[in-house]
Symmetry: C2
Subunit: 213 residues, 2 copies
Amino acid sequence: MSAEAKEAKVEMNASQPASPPLTERQEARRRRILHASAQLASRGGFDAVQMREVAESSQVALGTLYRYFPSKIHLLVATMQDQLEHMHGTLRKKPPTGDTAAQRVAETLMRAFRALQREPHLADAMVRALTFADRSVSPEVDQVSRQTTMIILDAVGLENPTPEQLSAVRVIEHTWHSALITWLSGRASIAQVKIDIETVCRLIDLTDPRAPE
Amino acid sequence: MSAEAKEAKVEMNASQPASPPLTERQEARRRRILHASAQLASRGGFDAVQMREVAESSQVALGTLYRYFPSKIHLLVATMQDQLEHMHGTLRKKPPTGDTAAQRVAETLMRAFRALQREPHLADAMVRALTFADRSVSPEVDQVSRQTTMIILDAVGLENPTPEQLSAVRVIEHTWHSALITWLSGRASIAQVKIDIETVCRLIDLTDPRAPE
DNA sequence: CGCTAATCTAGAACAAGTTTCAGACTTGAT
DNA sequence: ATCAAGTCTGAAACTTGTTCTAGATTAGCG
């Protein structure tokens, strides 16, 4: 037998709760799977992400795919986590420049929206999975939600948001998700989404003592 | 170019677009199907609405079920239309009593929310179908959206809403749907939903000249 | 009434998500 | 190096949404 790698464990993922640490090969498998998922999703959206195809594309047995992601929804939500992380990094590099919190949040969300427009099929797959997820995916969906909240709070630019402000952020998130859905299903135009985002963002100013109406 | 267009028998049903009129038996079948759908949904939510079971419960062949409703999503969205109509009627009877538009809208939505809490599984099935619907269901989903808009506008109490007000209503609707989803998937409490609704409803007052803060 | 087209029925067949299983391979510890 | 436990593979099976088919029923019409 060749000196087949003794796989050292790689442990350092701050975001996921302590799941059994993965070996390098496992980390690589996981990554291949997520990559295949995103690729298939980019082609044809939710329906194009077929578990057998994902397994084949990522060179993994179907059973293994299901060991890593217990359902198609789990897989797509994980894909979204992955993409979101990437986007958060991108957004951080160029903070929004608006004068009011509302402007900055709207600017940030519109930037994210434009990114999604470049891969509408991928957006479709991820967002549909997110809103279709049932209780069994709650932890993962919650993680996505927290990540989104952080992106918005970054744009607001506050260290210690008040409960009122957090409510406003929650509502902005609701609007963001739902507006995306109406756009993805062809019931609202890009312009309409923009208006909705700008409208809801006014809420954040209502709670900002520094920039009263 | 004869001026006599062939508009002999325009079906004047305001809600449904001109579909071929149904015979009594067909109307009865359609009703049985919707009833079975709602009943199964009430038991076990989205997953419990299985097309074979719906067909059997409503004494109709599977193929016929699919002739009436071309997919499970269509069926559930139609079920929602049905329930919404009922709810709109109920709400009309006792108009909300709040002083501001925001209070009235929040009151109305909370009343609807309490109705949904009585049949959480049914709510699950309908809302999941609604947000999962793809383009092929757009007309039906749009109809649900219009109906919801009318309910909210009723609560606002305006004849001729401004575009700004319509935007606020759209955002309220977004929040309503998304908040329902987070509640249904166990990620938000009833109290949290209430707060979110009340928060977003403040938007409607921003646009109401009569009741400035 | 009798005809034709549309509709309905029972049931098989197909598609994709999910589960299961036996056997091969890895890993971690001794 | 060796063994037990855990993991991965390939393939088949199962579930439920959806489609298809052949024959029976019904509706509308002359």
